[in-house]
């Protein structure tokens, strides 16, 4: 019974988010577009999860104890209200969307060979997700930071039914007995622990394994949202599913689902969806895109402390998309200014977000090679990225690809700067942080790779047949 309540509680969170997203897009063309059901459900889950944690924060601030009813009933009311409003605004599209979703899931509309590939890929992803679900449901909290700095807070907040403060050790010693708590990272944000608190509240007990259900749900929802986003980027159904599979098959991402408890998976998902929402907003200039982009960006900041830097890394790409002509120049200037500022800062030995800057450049190449190219963390992601860069370098700055190129370039520069000029260097050499930090950017690298590859392939086609009157086909090729 308790596990039923757990699932029901999380379905409610997802439904709440989906209803909010559906309401936001009720009058937008997106709701009737390709991949809309997957996007609404997937992106909605992340919006719902963030909304849940905001509500729990507010509840704790005003002194209402956590409980299934005190958290769940307001969520239920919001879900019902937003769903009703969304249906009122665009009943036809939303009903059609709900009606078509199962058919589309089974590959309806694809020709026979494509449908076979589609179903095979869906089944393959399904096997992966089933294995991960079993692991999440059975394995007690396992990785180190999960029980030294994330679930510590969740456990206390669940037991106390409020968000008790976590403080540094020195403050703990000085504070009145029992008024404050301490763990290995008391300054870490509350979003991720609050999701475990909600799981435990639904269960009515602390269960080291079941509290981690949101990690598996995040994996599934991220797949759905990413598929929807790739469809919006005008990839064919099969290509979008392949892109989704590329992301969901990354071993380090799967590990973060299976060995749940870290915030890196959530960081990667929110950052990717925030970036894609911002770029969509620049294209459509519609307020729902802006609103969703703002919500997801705000979530990034509250998931991990480096979230604010990651969100800042999106700005040059957004500017490039907004101002295609001057944007690339502005991005180049921003890059130069950021590089100069960073180099100046390294001379001060200042510590930012826990990273101590130092000027003695020493890139840990061997560690990077092992992490990205030798070990199994990323399958062939970085080989693919290097190949796309080499083959399609002339097209990386064409308007459709440039914003992605610039976001990825800034992200990679941020990572490499951190590895070369801060104490994070040793965490590359011992492989302790390099992959986790890269995970935040990896899904965007996949999207960029697909965009750049499509641009390169399209360029080759035009070279081969400049006067070809046949329209480009759907799928990896962009529409005319």
């Amino acid at each position: 019974m308790d596990i039923f309540t757990l699932w029901l509680g999380w379905v409610l969170v997802g439904a709440c988010g989906a209803a909010i997203v559906a309401l936001a897009y009720a009058r937008s063309a997106l709701i009737a577009g390709e991949g809309a059901p997957a996007f609404v459900v997937g992106c909605g889950w992340f919006v719902g999860q963030f909304a849940l944690t905001l509500w729990m924060r507010a509840q704790s601030a005003v002194g209402v104890p956590f409980g299934v009813a005190s958290i769940g009933l307001p969520l239920l009311a919001v879900t019902a209200l937003t769903a009703w409003l969304a249906l009122r605004r665009n009943r036809g599209s939303i009903v059609a969307l709900l009606r078509d979703a199962p058919r589309r899931f089974l590959g309806a509309g694809l020709v026979r060979r494509q449908r076979a590939l589609w179903l095979a890929l869906v089944a393959w992803i399904g096997i992966r997700l089933a294995l991960l679900l079993l692991e999440v449901l059975r394995r007690p909290l396992y990785p180190w930071d999960a029980w030294t700095q994330w679930a510590t807070k969740a456990r206390v907040w669940f037991e106390l039914r409020r968000m008790a403060p976590f403080v540094p050790l020195s403050d703990w010693l000085a504070a009145p007995a029992g008024s404050v708590y301490v763990d290995a990272a008391p300054h870490y944000p509350a979003t991720v622990p609050l999701t475990q608190t909600w799981s435990a509240t639904l269960l009515g007990r602390w269960d080291d394994a079941l509290v981690n259900l949101p990690w598996w749900l995040s994996g599934v929802a991220f797949g759905l949202a990413l598929y929807g986003c790739l469809r919006q980027l005008r990839f064919g159904a099969l290509a979008a599913l392949a892109g989704t599979w590329l992301v969901l098959s990354l071993p380090i991402l799967d590990t973060h689902v299976a060995l749940a408890g870290y915030a890196d998976l959530a960081m990667a998902a929110y950052l990717t969806l925030a970036a894609l929402s911002w770029l969509r907003f620049v294209q459509t200039r519609e307020w729902p895109d802006l609103a969703i982009a703002c919500v997801l960006s705000a979530a990034c900041v509250t998931i991990k402390n480096p979230g604010i830097v990651w969100v800042a890394m999106l700005v040059p790409g957004i500017v490039t998309a907004w101002l295609p002509r001057r944007g690339r120049m502005l991005a180049a200037v921003a890059f130069a200014v950021a590089a100069a500022a960073a180099l100046v800062l390294t001379e001060t030995s200042v510590t930012i977000l826990g990273y101590r800057l130092q000027l003695d450049y020493d890139m840990p190449w061997r560690g990077l090679f092992d992490a990205y190219l030798a070990y199994a963390n990323w399958h062939l992601l970085f080989y693919g990225a290097l190949a796309v860069t080499a083959l399609g370098w002339r097209r990386l700055l064409q308007p459709e690809v440039a914003p992605f190129t610039i976001i990825v370039a800034f992200g990679v520069a941020f990572l490499l700067f951190g590895f070369a000029f801060t104490n994070a260097r040793i965490w590359v050499e011992d492989q302790s942080t390099v992959n986790r930090a890269t995970l935040h950017l990896a899904p965007l690298i996949v999207v960029w790779m697909m965009m750049a590859f499509r641009a390169w392939a399209e360029g080759l086609r035009n070279l081969d047949s400049p006067g070809d009157a046949v329209a480009p086909r759907e799928g990896m090729m962009p529409p005319a």
Binding site: E135, E159, T255, H256, A376, R473
Partner: protein, 426 residues
């Protein structure tokens, strides 16, 4: 979704063009059939090319790495832990492993084994050793019947605490005649016990080398403390990483296709990007099959350990069991309302783990440091939980608790077990 392929294809393009140009249904059908034929032919050609390049790469790898004959007559010779002799140092054989706890007084650990190998038949020696320092100075030693008085040696590389295979080439002149004894020498102190499971002399033929690579790639990689940071993909030390090997094969295939298109444009009808992406996806899928297989094996291991157990039984089935058993007793003694608890343990793991299990008590466990605060900073009613921590003394007669040279505090012993205790400050 329309009926067009997701993959660009010139032949299908022609069929589409025929249809678009208003050709008769028969002509359109003919064009479509031709496109299908071209597509199948391309698929076969690409598959054959992939296989040929794979075989060629394997051949090139063997040509570069094999130090002797490709198909030698000799079989690998192996010695287990029981046949090893710890000539210098302290240790014992336990569970099929020689566990060396300390070197001798001069700082040398020497493990020997008597052998009778024809040197020309064997070109590799693998000591199965774990627990070494990354900078450990390790050497392979051997004697032969040609120069019985001469001790030959070669340095041994260490990675991830393990010794790597030592390949003996014709340049290593002492490897002649019959090898009558092998030894492993470790210079310097051993911060942790070193385990030696045995030694294998390898002829290093083609099949054996390929089997070794295959074993490395498909070795089961169970979850461990580092898994959240890195997925190695098989054995920890690998001569050739599988992603790199597949990337090389794909790159060579694409290169050949580009060259073929220049000299024989009709060799492949499909566009280069189509073929490149198909090869890339195929290679990715191979890696993903390996990863999924590993996940399935891991899930089976997890099920054996945890399936059907309650949350508390799961903890008792984990490596935490002794700690959890003590904490169960401690929790029974501690007040039901949250109190301040100071956790003392030498190992970071036990300190942090005990803290986690004790929440929602307000637990103080210093991360990454064994240092404890001055007892004077504690208050009456605070608790101190000790688990495998040296340097804590309790004077039962006077009820005084002290640690690390600080002034003692009045305290009461509430629970004691071997290596663990619980006190309340008075």
């Amino acid at each position: 979704m329309n009926h067009r392929d997701a993959i660009d294809d010139a032949a299908t393009g022609a069929a589409d063009a025929a249809a678009a140009a208003g050709a008769t249904p028969a002509a359109a059908h003919q064009a479509s059939a031709a496109a299908e034929t071209h597509r199948r032919r391309d698929a076969w050609r690409v598959a054959v090319l992939f296989a040929v390049v794979l075989v060629a790469c394997v051949g090139a790898y063997l040509a570069v790495t094999l130090p002797g004959a490709w198909f030698p007559g000799a079989s690998p010779a192996a010695w287990g832990a029981k046949e090893l002799v710890l000539a210098r140092g302290t240790g014992r054989v336990q569970g099929g492993e020689l566990i060396v706890s300390a070197p001798d007084a001069s700082g040398v650990t020497l493990i020997t084994v008597t052998s009778n190998l024809r040197a020309s038949d064997y070109h590799g020696v693998a000591w199965v050793v774990a627990g070494l320092r990354e900078d450990a100075e390790v050497r392979l030693l051997w004697r032969t019947d040609v120069q019985p008085g001469k001790l030959n040696l070669l340095p041994v590389r260490v990675e991830s605490g393990r010794t790597l295979l030592i390949v003996i080439t014709p340049k290593d002149q002492g490897w002649i005649g019959h090898v009558t004894g092998l030894a492993l020498a470790i210079q310097g102190p051993l911060p942790q016990p070193v385990t030696v499971r045995g030694v294998i002399a390898k002829p290093m033929g083609a099949w054996e080398t390929l089997a070794d690579r295959f074993r490395e790639w498909f070795a089961f990689e169970a979850w461990n403390g580092a898994s959240i940071n890195t997925v190695v993909g098989g054995a920890e030390n690998q001569d050739v990483p599988m992603p790199a090997a597949l990337a090389a094969v794909v790159a060579i295939c694409v290169g050949i296709i580009l060259l073929l298109r220049r000299w024989r444009p009709r060799a492949f009808v499909a566009a280069v990007p189509t073929i490149a992406v198909a090869l890339f996806i195929a290679a990715w899928l191979l890696l993903d099959v390996r990863w999924t297989w590993n996940l399935a094996r891991q899930e089976r291991a997890t099920a054996l350990q945890y399936a059907g157990k309650t949350p508390h039984e799961k903890l008792l089935a984990s490596s935490d069991a002794p700690l959890v058993a003590f904490l169960d007793k401690a929790r029974a003694v501690l007040p039901s309302t949250p109190v301040r608890v100071l956790v003392a343990a030498n190992a970071d793991y036990f300190r942090e783990r005990a803290a986690y299990h004790l929440y929602p008590h307000s637990v103080y466990a210093r991360p990454r440091s064994n240092e404890l605060p001055d007892p004077a900073t504690l208050r009456a009613g605070d608790w101190v939980l000790v688990y495998q921590r040296l340097g804590i003394q309790f004077d039962r007669q006077h009820g005084k608790l002290r640690w690390d040279g600080h002034a003692p505090r009045d305290a009461e012993l509430k629970l004691v077990e071997p290596g663990a205790a619980l006190f309340v400050i008075r």
